[in-house]
Structures are given as structure tokens and as C-alpha cells.
Amino acid sequence: MTAVRGATFAPRMPLTASSSTQAWLDGLAVGAGGRDQAIEALHALLLRAARFEVSRRRAGLSHVRGERLEDVANQAADDALVAVLAKLHTFRGASRFTTWAYKFALLEAGVRLRRRAWQEREVVLDSDSWTRLAEPARGGPESHAERAELLHAVSDSIGADLTPHQRQVLVSLAVDGVPIDVLVERLGTTRGALYKTLHDARKKLRAALTERGFDV
């Protein structure tokens, strides 16, 4: 402990993943002494999370060189740092600070990695794959009459009940398996807006199927 003009200050410990929420908030407060070091520690925390995400997905990114993946982790940590500092005033303390901060880095890294994994693949925006939904899967069982009937009805409803935009989004995401962040980029929208479209399309399908007597 150091006494300065009657006040007593505890020397600030370096911030780490195991530091308390209050220690992070004190360190990052505007005007706090040592704020630059706290921001540096926050960047290190976010980089750790971004690298964690890269390592989880490495198997699906075998075509991407290691140093490119390290670049992805660094860019994700940089953007997450900006987002965390901009939203710091919204932190409500409903979780630990570190859990709250990690999610920004995981989001930034996840979006980049999904896009990187699909970089070489074509996205057909007006795919007609939904018209073949009820065709039996190659090598699969062909005698599931109930399932086939349901898939026929789903296919009919996709054609009859959805708007062209809802059809495009549902088919890309749920039939063709395009990752949502890839479609977001191709359509110039946001994940939230796209998922809302998917949600509305699914709701319409369910309603149409229920009306036709399916228990879905």
C-alpha cells in the first residue's frame, strides 16, 4: 500500500481472465489511471477468445494457411475491442465482465471464419432445390411415407405461401445449408434481419402445414 497526501492506494494488479468484474470496470473507466494498460489487457483477453474460436474451427478451414488464421484472430480481436469499449456503458452486470466481453470476440471471429470457409463456394441465390425436397435421398430409405408426404407439403407451401424473399432466405439457409453470415454478406443485410425473415417464413410454413392436418 502506498500513502499519497493522506489517501491510500492499492497498487493495481494486471488485469487477466480471472480478474473480478469490478477490477475490469475500474481499470477501463474513462479517466482511470492505467486505463491504457487495462485496454491492452482487454485486447489480450479478446485475442485469446478469438484464437479459441479459430482453433475450434480449424478442421473446417484446412485450405486456409495458419498465418491467415492468425490474421483473422487479430482482426476479430481488434474489432471486438472497439465494440466492447463502445458498449461498455451498456454492461448491466448480468454476467461476469469477461463472459460479456468474450462474446464480442467470438462473434467477430465466428462471422469471419464462416465467410472464409465459404469463400471458394458458390452461393446460388435463387436455388430451386426446394422443388426436389420430396425426392428420396440417395441411398436412404425410400419408404417413409409419412415423411415423404410432409416434405411434399413443405415443398408445396414454400412455392405457394412464401414471398420470393422469404423463399430465397429459407431455401438458402435451411435447404442449401448456406451459413447465415455468408448470406448476410451476399445480400447486404444483417444477421438479425435475415433470421427474422427465416423466422417468419417458418411460421408461415407451420401454419400452412397445421391447416393441412399435419402435427408439426
Binding site: 448480468a94 463472459t99 467470438l106 427465416l198 408439426v216
Partner: protein, 68 residues
């Protein structure tokens, strides 16, 4: 009907959060789970959303592992 394709097409049956709400509450949900508290009661609609949105699900799984 347990067909994965049908699940992906129809999504969760129960009311769900949307992606922005999921992101807002994901840290709270994960920390509640890690503490053994009733996360699904505290954050209704989260579990169905994680079943319906593969991207949010992946981020949830990573956050749970990283924060655990």
C-alpha cells in the same frame, strides 16, 4: 418427425428470441448455466433460438466452453 431437414425447415416450435436478443442475453444465460441456476427460466426463448439458429448455437457453445 425427427428428420434433420424438417427441423431445419420448420425451426423450433416454442417461441424464440431473435439473433439480436440472443446476443444481448447470451453472457447472462451462459453464466447462469455455469452456476447451475435456472437459465431457461431467467431467459425464456433462448433455448429454442439456439435450436433454430446454427450460428448463435456455435457462439453459445464456444462461450460456454471458454467461460467455464
Amino acid at each position: 418427425m425427427s428428420d434433420e431437414r424438417i427441423k431445419r425447415l420448420l425451426g423450433p416450435k416454442a417461441p424464440e428470441l431473435l439473433c439480436d436478443e440472443c446476443f444481448d442475453k447470451l453472457d447472462e444465460y451462459v453464466d447462469l448455466e455455469l452456476r447451475g441456476s435456472a437459465a431457461d427460466e431467467a431467459v425464456p426463448g433462448m433455448r429454442p433460438h439456439l435450436e433454430g439458429c446454427p450460428a448463435c448455437r456455435e457462439e453459445y457453445e464456444s462461450l460456454r466452453e471458454l467461460a467455464g
